[in-house]
Amino acid sequence: MASIRLFLTLTLISIIVLVTFLSSLRGYQESMIEAERLFDLQLLEHVKLLSLAKPAVTATSANEVFEELMLPDQGDLNLSAEMVIAYQIFSENGRLLSRSVIAPFTAMGPFEVGYRDVNFNGYRWRLLVIRDLEEQQWLMAAQRYDVRYELAESVILQSVTPTVLSIPIAAILIWFIVGYGLRPISLLAKEVRSREASDLSRVQLDGVPRELTPLTQSTNDLLRRLQSSFSREKRFAADAAHELRTPISTLKVQVHNLLAELDRPSATAEELRQGVDAMGHLVEQILVLNRTAPDQYMVQFLPVDLYELVKDVVSAEFEQVLQREQVFELDGSTAVVSGDATALRSLVQNLLSNASKYTPVGGAIRMNVREVDQQVQLVVEDSGPGIPQSHHERVFDRFYRLDGDRNASGVSGSGLGLAIVKHIVEMHGGDITLSASEALGGLCVTIMFNASANDSASQHNNKVIA
C-alpha cells in the first residue's frame, strides 16, 4: 500500500461503483419487467376500446381498413409511427371484419385468448387475443417487441445514466476529501521535517485528530529520550574534559620540571612533553566544541570586523607559521559580520592552525576576507596535500581523520578542528565549502557569512574618517 490516499480513493470509489451499479442493474431489470407489464396493460386497454367501437365496426365492410380511431393523436404523444398498435377484428367464424393499416389480412395469431409472442411483417410482436362473446367476434391487438423494448429502455436509462455519470464526480470529491482528511499527517511530517537538527523540543500541533494522537505522543516520547541521551553525552564530554584540565596542567608542570632536572636532553622526555601538550590541546578542543555547539551557544551577536579579527589571530599564531618557514599572505578589507568574537577567533585559529599543520615546511598559506554580494567571504588556501572530494562531507565529523590517523603530511591532529569550524559557521548561519585551491594546489576553505546590517554604514564611516 504505497499511498493511503490512493488506496482509500480507489477502494471507496470501487465500493460505491459496485453498490450503485449493481443496484442500477437490478433496478433496470426490474423496471424492464414492469415496463413489459405496463405495455401489456396498454394492449388490453386498446382491445377494450376496440370492443366499445361497435358502431364503427359494424359500419365498415369486411375488407375496409379501420383507421386508428381509438388512438390519440400520435404527434401529441411524440411516438413514432412504429408505435402504432396493429389490430384485427374477426367474426366468430374467422372472417376478417376489420383491421388497422399495419395489420396483415390473415390472423396475426391463433384464435386463443391471452397474450403470446408472434412473428409477422418481419418483426416479433406481442399479441393479445380476446373473444367478445356479446358481439360474437375475436379482437386481436399487437405491438412490436423491439419498439416496446426500445421505449422502455430509453425511459429507464434516463435514471441509470446520471448514476454512471456521477461516478467521476464522486471520484474527484473523494480524492480531495481523503487528501483533506490526511492533512494532519502531512502537517505533522512538515513540522518534524522543518526542525533544526538540534531542535528536540516537543511536537505541538493544534487540533490533532484522535487517530494521530498516539503517533504524536510516541514521537514526543522519542524526542524526549533523544534529548536526554544527547544532553547526557554532551555533559559527559564537557565534564570529562573540564575535569582533565587540572591534572593535565599539573602534568605539564611536572614534565617541565623533569626536563629542567635532566642533565642532558632526553628524546623520551621530549616526546612525553609533546604528548602531554597534544593531550592538553585535545581537551581544550573538546571544550571549545561543546561551547560552540549551536544548541549550547546562547550569546548575543555583535558586529565584528572579521578582517581585523583575522589579523589579530594571525599575529598571535604567527610563530607556528614562522617555525615551519611557510609563506603567509593576507588580503582583504574591512568586512563586518554579526557574530561572537570569541567563537570567530576560535574558527580562524583552527583554520590557520590546520593550514599550517598540513602544509609542508616552506609551503604557502593565503587568507582573504572580502565582501561579496551582501555577504562576507573568508577564504583560507594552502599548498598542502588537500582533501580528496570523497572525504569533503566526512571531515566535519568529530574525530574523523583522513586515512585513519595521519595523512601524507605525517601530522597528527585531534580530529576536532573542522568540526569546531562547522559548528561556529552554523551558529552564525553561514555556509562552508571545501574545494581544491587553484592558486596554491592544496585545500581551499570558503566560508560565507551574512554581512552585518550596519556594515555598509560602518564601512562608509571608516572611509570618511580615513
Binding site: 500500500m1 488506496f7 480507489l10 477502494t11 470509489i13 470501487s14 465500493i15 461503483v17 459496485l18 451499479f21 449493481l22 442500477s24 442493474l25 433496470y28 431489470q29 429502455e153 430509453s154 436509462l157 441509470v160 445514466t161 454512471v164 461516478i167
Partner: protein, 266 residues
C-alpha cells in the same frame, strides 16, 4: 443494456484479473509498477490495430484469420504466464535472483499484460462498434459498457488490494495459482478457436454441465472469464487444458531447481 454489461464486464474482468495478479506479484517481488505504462500503451495500441485491421485479419488464413490470431494471442499469453511462474518460484527460492531476472521478468509482465489488453480491448471495441454505431443504440451500449467496465475495474481493485494484504510469499504463491488457472483457461479457449478454424478436430463433447451452470448465465460468463469455464468441453480442449497446467507446473519446478546448481558451486 444487459448484454453490453455482461460482455464488457466479462472482458474487463478477464483483463483485470490478469493485470491485477501481475501487479500484485511484481509488488511482492519489490518491483515498481512502472512496467504498466508500456503494457497499457502497447495493449491499447494493439487492441486498436486489431479492431481497425479486423477485416483483413478475418480474410487471412482462408477466412480463419481471426480464430488463428486469437488463439495465437491466447497461447502466447499462457506461455508468458508460465514464464511468470518460473521467475516467481525462482524469486521465492532465492530473492537475490531478481537482480539478474528483473529485465526478463519485466518483459514477461509487459508482454502478458499487453496481450491481455489487446485481446479484451479489441473485443470490447468490436462489440461497441457493431452494437453502438451500426445498431444505433449508443446510449444503452455506452451506459451498459460503463456499468460493466465500472464493476470489472472495481472487482479488479479489490483483487489487487486483496492480494496485497497477504504476506509477499503467500501473495506470490496465490499469484502463481491464478496464473496457472488463467493460462489453462486461455489454452482451452484457444483450442475452441482452432477447432472452429478446422485446425484441431471438432470432436463430441465429453460432458455437458449446462444443466448445472449455463455458459450464457451471468455466473457462467464470469467463470468463463476467470477460469475458462466450458459447459461442454471436447477431449482436445481438456487435453490442452491439462497440458497448460502441466507446462506451468513444469516451469515452476524448473524455476525451483534452476538455482540449485549455482548454490552448490557457490
Amino acid at each position: 443494456m444487459t448484454s453490453a454489461v455482461i460482455i464488457v464486464l466479462r472482458e474487463v474482468l478477464e483483463a483485470m484479473l490478469l493485470i491485477c495478479m501481475l501487479m500484485a506479484s511484481s509488488s511482492a517481488m519489490k518491483l515498481t509498477l512502472r512496467w504498466l505504462v508500456p503494457a497499457l500503451v502497447a495493449g491499447l495500441g494493439g487492441a486498436l490495430a486489431y479492431a481497425v485491421f479486423l477485416e483483413s485479419i478475418s480474410m487471412s488464413f482462408e477466412g480463419f484469420g481471426q480464430e488463428i490470431i486469437n488463439s495465437s494471442l491466447l497461447v502466447a499469453t499462457m506461455l508468458l504466464l508460465a514464464a511468470h511462474n518460473f521467475f516467481v518460484i525462482r524469486y521465492l527460492n532465492s530473492p537475490t535472483s531478481i537482480a539478474n531476472d528483473s529485465c526478463l521478468l519485466v518483459f514477461v509482465l509487459v508482454g502478458a499484460a499487453a496481450l491481455g489488453i489487446t485481446r479484451e480491448g479489441s473485443e470490447i471495441y468490436l462489440y461497441a462498434y457493431s452494437y453502438g454505431l451500426v445498431a444505433g443504440d449508443e446510449t444503452s451500449v455506452l451506459a451498459g459498457g460503463a456499468i460493466g467496465a465500472g464493476i470489472g475495474l472495481s472487482l479488479g481493485t479489490f483483487i489487487y488490494y486483496g492480494l496485497k494484504t497477504l504476506t509477499p510469499r503467500h501473495c506470490l504463491v496465490l499469484s502463481c495459482g491464478i496464473a496457472l488457472i488463467i493460462g489453462a483457461g486461455m489454452t482451452s479457449q484457444a483450442a475452441l478457436f482452432l477447432a472452429q478454424a478446422d485446425i484441431l478436430p471438432a470432436t463430441e463433447p465429453l460432458w455437458d454441465s449446462s444443466a448445472l451452470l449455463r455458459e450464457s448465465s451471468l455466473l457462467g460468463e464470469l467463470l468463463q472469464a476467470a477460469i475458462g469455464y466450458e459447459a461442454s468441453p471436447t477431449l482436445v480442449q481438456i487435453s490442452l487444458h491439462l497440458g497448460a497446467v502441466l507446462l506451468s507446473i513444469a516451469a515452476m519446478v524448473l524455476g525451483y531447481f534452476s538455482l540449485a546448481g549455482n548454490r552448490k558451486t557457490a
